[in-house]
């Protein structure tokens, strides 16, 4: 169950401040799409509009539409809570619930959707989700220990397990490796490669090599200056973006980072 996303003419505002202007793009099902661009250009802001998480911030709002398999997520009849059950999210800093055990963390989202899950099903789901997040072998003997007792990289994989346990259609990741060491980063990148056979994945990253390694498509966002809105400059196959981008700005950004 994975879905494609089409964004048409999306503007995002914080109060009266236009943070992201007129973005239109398509995200393919069962693929990895990377968002790159300088700090403050609105990557996180835009990403959060894909599961309506921006609505958590007072004053944040959008204009335009986001279609998930043709269904407009901003239709007045759509419940943002339901959207988030289909579009999962992994944050920059690992955020397992400190008061829950490892197993409880994995089940947290499932318990919301489906209060009565049998003990056997729950155990099975914990195992399959943790295996899915490449964490099972490391934690199988201490599932009842608090989630915060894990290392940063393990915590991040726990968060991924928690997100995939509810079987979302789309998985959004906002710089999921920026707080991690290179080994944990590689583990997560491998994981992303495996997950894309089942999920549509969107990842924000500051790491060019990471974007090049994991994604099929790359979107480059830029900002003209402070106080100006961020814009989508171009989006193309990752290999094209990194070898022969159409726009000068993209090339400058990429070569600046590499050079």
């Amino acid at each position: 169950m994975s879905k494609r996303i089409d964004v048409n003419n999306l503007n995002v505002f914080y109060g009266s401040f236009l943070a992201v202007e007129d973005v239109s793009l398509s995200i393919e099902a069962k693929s990895v799409t990377a968002f790159i661009g300088p700090s403050g250009c609105g990557k996180s802001t835009f990403l959060r509009t894909l599961n309506r998480m921006h609505e958590v911030i007072p004053g944040a709002r959008v204009e335009g539409e986001v279609l998930m398999d043709g269904l407009n997520l901003y239709d007045p009849q759509i419940d943002p809570v339901a959207v988030r059950r289909h579009v999962g999210m992994v944050f920059q800093r690992p955020n397992p619930f400190p008061t829950m055990s490892i197993a409880e963390n994995v089940l947290a989202g499932v318990k919301l959707n489906n209060k009565r899950i049998s003990k056997g099903d729950a155990e099975e789901l914990v195992e399959s989700s943790l295996r899915g997040a490449n964490l099972w072998e490391e934690v199988k003997d201490r599932l009842d220990k608090p989630g915060s007792s894990l290392s940063g990289g393990q915590q991040q994989r726990l968060c991924i397990a928690r997100a995939i346990a509810i079987k979302p259609d789309v998985l959004l990741m906002d710089e999921p490796c920026s707080a991690l060491d290179p080994i944990s980063t590689l583990a997560i990148e491998d994981l992303i490669q495996e997950l894309k056979s089942e999920y549509t994945i969107v990842i924000v990253t500051h790491n060019m090599q990471q974007a090049a390694r994991v994604s099929e498509k790359t979107a480059f966002f830029n900002i003209a200056g402070t106080g100006k809105p961020g814009k989508l400059i171009e989006m193309d196959d990752t290999t094209t973006i990194f070898s022969a981008p159409a726009e000068k700005a993209t090339e400058d950004y990429i070569s600046g980072r590499f050079g």
């Binding site: 998480m53 955020n95 619930f97």
Partner: protein, 332 residues
């Protein structure tokens, strides 16, 4: 500006020294402040114990002779009177807390997570003001305004829920107290008095829930209430328990409001709608102290000691509850 190497080195040494002095002073000062608390606590305990000693060690019959309010002819002794009072104190304070805690948590949550920002800050300010009202004003308001309002409600409870032990009517008259000066009134006024304390501390705790955890819950498709149960309550648990203990401390020790509201008596009665059945330690001490002789004062202090011990036990219980799952507190 150029400095020779030597004077540069001296400067470094000097600043380091100054900083370590400041550091030492501060460490000393905070350690002193912390030990002061212990000293005060020990001093209070020692005072209570020495002053209560004459009454505690005196022969029961002699004590009954010398203190007018201990009536051996009714089978009373100091221990027994204190027992009644401990019961009354704990009963009234517990009821107050049972009423105040859910309300306070609701108020705190409304302010921290539901109300629009402007309304929230206004409400928070009003609640903080409520905490500043002196208890004698609460006592006056309770007995003049609140009790007449509550009386018909008590009648209703007695008539329709009289089978429930707490709301039982007087077996001879078949009605509840006509004055409304009953334990439940005292508890209600105490509840109103402690709501500002519990809710303002809880509000601060709830506001400090990490955004990270709130967003984690919301991003999984939690509703606001589910997010609160998942992220806010577990995070705020120990804080709310602490807040409740603060409230309980105030409810246990409150003197004036209870003294002005309650029609007092001594018994182990659960009938909180009957007057002349209960009293609290603090209110009893306040009532008897002006008339008490030397040994009477000593006996009253013994009761104060009992109150002190109750408060201590309650606090220890709270600590135990908080520490039970400290591994999961998220402190790391």
């Amino acid at each position: 500006m150029t400095v020779t190497e030597k004077s540069g080195a001296e400067k470094v040494e000097l600043t380091a020294h100054r900083r370590s002095v400041a550091n030492g002073v501060f460490t000393g000062a905070s350690a002193a402040a912390a030990s002061l608390i212990l000293v005060v606590l020990a001093a209070v305990a020692a005072f209570l114990l020495t002053e209560a000693w004459p009454a505690l060690t005196m022969d029961a019959a002699e004590l009954g002779d010398r203190i007018s309010w201990i009536k051996p002819e009714d089978g009373q002794s100091l221990i027994q009177v204190t027992g009644y009072l401990v019961f009354g104190t704990v009963l009234i304070a517990t009821m107050a807390l049972l009423i105040a805690t859910p309300l306070s948590i609701g108020i705190a949550l409304f302010i921290s997570h539901y109300a629009p920002r402007r309304l929230a800050s206004g409400l928070g300010y009003i609640i903080d003001l409520l905490a500043a009202i002196p208890s004698v004003v609460y006592g006056l308001w309770g007995s003049i305004v609140l009790i007449p309002v509550l009386q018909p409600f008590y009648d209703f409870l007695g008539t329709y829920l009289g089978w429930f032990p707490l709301f039982a009517t007087d077996p001879t008259t078949g009605t509840v107290s006509a004055t409304g000066r009953v334990a439940l009134s005292a508890s209600l006024v105490l509840a109103i008095m402690v709501i500002p304390i519990i809710s303002s501390v809880s509000r601060e705790v709830f506001l400090q829930t990490p955004k990270l955890h709130e967003e984690a819950a919301l991003a999984m498709g939690a509703t606001r209430w589910e997010m609160i149960r998942m992220a806010v309550f577990p995070f705020g648990r120990s804080g709310v328990i602490g807040a409740t203990m603060l409230g309980l401390g105030r409810a246990l020790g409150e003197t004036m409001a209870v003294y002005m509201i309650l029609s007092v008596g001594l018994s182990y009665s659960w009938n909180v709608l009957l007057s002349g059945k209960h009293n609290t330690i603090a209110s009893y001490i306040a009532g008897q102290f002006p008339e008490a002789n030397a040994i009477g004062v000593s006996a009253l202090i013994a009761m104060g000691l009992a109150l002190f011990i109750i408060t201590l036990l309650v606090n220890m219980a709270a600590r135990w509850i908080v520490s039970r799952r400290s591994e999961f507190s998220g402190a790391n």
